[in-house]
Amino acid sequence: MDFLLPLLLLMPLAGAVVVALLGSDGSRKALAMLASLATFAASLGLLQDGSALTAGEAVLAFQRPWFPEIGLSLHLAADGISVWLVLLTTFIMPIAIGFSNRFVSDRLGQHLALLLLMETAMVGVFLAQDLVLFYTFFEFTLIPMYFLIGQWGSENRVYAALKFVMYTLLGSALMLVAIVAIFVQTGTFSIPEIAATLPATAGSTFQVLGFLAFALAFAVKIPLFPFHTWLPDAHVQAPTAGSIILAGVLLKMGTYGLLRLAMPFFPEAFASYAPLLIMLSLIGIVYGALVALKQQDVKSLVAYSSVSHMGFIVLGLAVANTQAVSGAVLQMVNHGLSTGALFLMVGLLYERRHTRLFSDFGGLWKSVPVYCGLLLITALSSVGLPSLNGFVGEFTILLGTWQVSPAAAAVASTGVILAAWYLLTAFRKLAQGEIRHQENEVGVLPDLQRSELMMIVPLVIMFFVIGLYPNLLLDHIVPAVEILLP
């Protein structure tokens, strides 16, 4: 099964091309869904070699020359970390497509094709073992997202789309220089080879400059405080499917890059900048949570909660012991599922009422009980209630952090408390109390339908699966992290 990894890239790509060419919306919907489900099914094949993954090895390597004169190759492989991030991507994709199938009608073919293109690029980021290939996928994600926000977003979409692209482009510009400089230094673009040779050969100035170039690119993508200002705009303006993908997967490309590239390539520089990263992530955790408390718009609340939660992941990475980093990887998957689900729930509400302001809701528990029950579970998963997924990840990160800096762990744990505060307050404002608006009355506001349940229930099941049996992931993640850490 040498060809499984390129197949994972080609299936959504082929789907995108065909969807763009098809005639009727019905066949487009069916085909896009089919392509994303088939990709998910195929991606389950990543787990076939469980013993190699638990040994921390990279599996299913695929390598072909691409531009041999300058050392580029099409080199793909998956280890315990990439496997689960790819699975996260392929799992979320059918849900996002399901949402668009149900609610988007304007230029649907283009919309679905862009979503599938997005999937190819994101899977490529997690599988690439060649730096230029990584950069290619990393940058290419901008184009579909740009069109998704710009064409199907809310009122302020043009500003948000351009801001998103320019922030990310400027952030990653210097990374390209660093990538080429690494090649000049080591003579290769292969990520594993660079990780093996660069730390020993690079001088300290090279390490520092290289690390800063990579870290800037990823800090914008994550987004780490103070590079986060594009995120609320992009999230609030993006169409729901775009938000789900943005929060669910796209942000993880930043933390993944930090872990896969910046940390192993420049260990000394990383060690000397780790306190700064810890500081910024703590600020992000508290700041994001406090701003989230004040939001009047449900979607921007979820967006700021992302800033806070991504801070946890960066904290785990910056602490750089096996426990914290493994927790961070687990939390990447968890945050993808929980925040993706939150955006999905907000989207479902918005499609019913065309408003996202707290003041327009209240008492929904009476009119849409199924929706509210699922919303509560989702919110609790994001808060980090034990037995749900968010708890395991955050707890592991905090444990690992405690070993290095109890103070940092203490500050970070306020983020958990604040999360409970803003998410439960949000839930109260939406679901509890009296019904104040006629549109929200029983019988007027429809509860979830079967097709909508099919989007949200798989996510909820995964909350419990990971919450009760985290070793399903950690068995693969921990050995891979042990190999990656210096």
Binding site: P65, Q151, M166, L169, V184
Partner: protein, 487 residues
């Protein structure tokens, strides 16, 4: 004496073809002199020109292996000349594909247009083989004079005439610098042949007699190059000429002139004056940084698409110049690759401008593209492709061009220069993407006619688009095509 005519076959085909087109046009006009059908038979001229250019391309590949000095050391066939020929011919074919219908909108004399285009391309290709100062100057004047006439082809249009006059005056000025520099160099070395200059240059570089005159001569040459390449601060004429000239001429000029002049720059500064080349890297770096930065910043403020592409062309010249600074063989190959990629993405963008211009018949403002994404999805899709490639987003042609240039700069140990290039390129994304914003994210006003792109134009657009994708996905193949191993 080495009279190797086969080695200059491509240039001979082009020059001969230009004359044949002119003669056929004359016969056509005698046939038609009574009727008013000025454009009858112009399709024939177009087909003929395309055949000539394609024939020259075939000839270029056929004589690909020929190398060495010829014609009393006045011409040299090598890897560089092959690369220049290929890019110029690709440019010519793409510009010809704009089609006769577009040409008929600005001139009643298509024969002159086609034959001048072929002649100009001949001069550009000759720039690549020129190996002494005289031939170089003749090649320079051949393509410049043809371009001056081409720029003024839209005879009843003020800005076209202005463009032509401006290009003529500043071109003459640049030629003056060029000739004066050549004269000084000749005075010191006693020869015009690049091959024969070696010993005298070496002596002068070692501090021998005439060093001051020699350096002054080279500096004057560089100023001449600066004008023709529209390097900042010698760039003032460029936007006006680009905006005023008929768009097909602008497209041709923007890529062809750059290619020819960079070929000659490499020939002179890297291959003839390598002695003391490091003395020239300083000025070249300053020119490159100024050129890309000023070009980009000014492009940010433009509302006319042609003008914006003109300024952005200045920035692209800056990137290529920066890539040449290390002066190595990889640097030259990277620059050639960049120009090759640039030919397709830039002319592609100009073809779209022409298709839209066709319907509004004046300069194309950005606002005229509003809502084209929904109204003309194919046209807008291709435009977006070209713009993404111009901004250097992977995996398109422009990305690999820039990537190779970074690599050659970093190989030369100039990390800060690479950083300047890359930041400039990210800034340029803003004005390219703004057009995409206009096309896709804004509503279309009511009163706009559909574009009338001719079939030929569509072929050109698709060809350029396919190449932009193919160069990005299979960069190794095109690098192999452009560079000749072992020469």
């Amino acid at each position: 004496m080495n009279l190797n005519y086969s080695a200059i076959l491509p240039e001979m085909v082009m020059a001969g073809g230009a004359i044949v087109v002119l003669m056929v046009d004359a016969l056509r006009r005698i046939e038609n002199h009574r009727g008013d059908a000025a454009n009858r038979g112009s399709g024939l001229l177009l087909a003929l020109s395309l055949i000539v250019a394609a024939g020259a391309a075939v000839a270029a590949f056929a004589v690909r292996g020929e190398s060495g000095l010829m014609f009393q050391d006045s011409a040299r066939s090598d890897a560089l000349s092959f690369g220049i020929r290929l890019i110029v011919l690709a440019t010519t074919i793409l510009v010809l594909l704009v089609g006769s219908r577009y040409v008929s909108t600005f001139t009643r004399y298509p024969g002159e247009y086609y034959s001048l285009l072929l002649l100009s391309a001949t001069g550009m290709m000759a720039m690549g083989i020129a190996s002494d100062l005289m031939v170089l100057f003749i090649a320079l004047e051949t393509f410049s004079l043809s371009l001056i006439l081409l720029a003024g082809m839209y005879r009843h249009n003020r800005s076209s005439t202005e463009a032509s006059l401006k290009y003529f005056l500043l071109g003459a000025f640049a030629s003056g610098f060029f000739v004066y520099g050549s004269a000084l160099i000749y005075g010191v070395t006693g020869t015009v042949s690049f091959a024969g200059m070696g010993p005298a240059l070496q002596a002068a570089a070692d501090g021998g007699p005439g060093a001051v005159l020699l350096w002054a001569g080279i500096a004057l040459l560089l100023v001449g190059f600066g004008f023709k390449l529209s390097l900042v601060p010698f760039h003032m004429w460029t936007p006006d000429v680009y905006q005023g000239a008929p768009t097909s001429v602008t497209a041709f000029m923007s890529v062809g002139t750059k290619t020819a002049m960079f070929g000659a720059l490499v020939r002179i500064f890297l291959m003839t004056f390598p002695y003391g080349f490091e003395n020239w890297t300083g000025p070249l770096i300053v020119l490159a940084v100024l050129t890309m930065t000023v070009g980009n910043v000014t492009a940010l403020c433009q509302t006319s698409i042609k003008r914006m592409l003109g300024y952005s062309g200045i920035a692209h010249a800056g990137y290529v110049l920066a890539g040449l600074v290390p002066g190595t063989e990889t640097a030259v190959n990277s620059a050639l690759f960049y120009l090759f990629a640039y030919a397709f993405m830039n002319i592609g963008a100009f073809i779209i401008v022409m298709a839209i211009e066709h319907s509004v018949e004046t300069d194309v403002e950005r606002s005229q593209l509003r809502g084209t994404g929904a109204a003309m999805p194919i046209l807008a899709g291709f435009m977006a492709l070209f713009l993404f490639s111009l901004s250097g987003i992977p995996p398109l042609a422009g990305f690999f061009g820039k990537f190779l240039i970074f690599r050659s700069i970093l190989d030369g140990g100039l990390a800060w220069l690479a950083a300047v290039v890359v930041v400039n390129s990210a800034v340029s994304a803003y004005y390219y993407l703004r057009i995409v914003v206009t096309m896709y994210f804004q509503q279309r006003p009511q009163e706009v006619h559909a574009p009338q792109s001719s079939p030929a134009m569509q072929v050109g657009m698709v060809l350029a688009g396919v190449m932009v994708l193919a160069i990005g996905v299979f960069p190794a193949f095109f690098m192999g095509l452009l560079t000749v191993p072992g020469l």
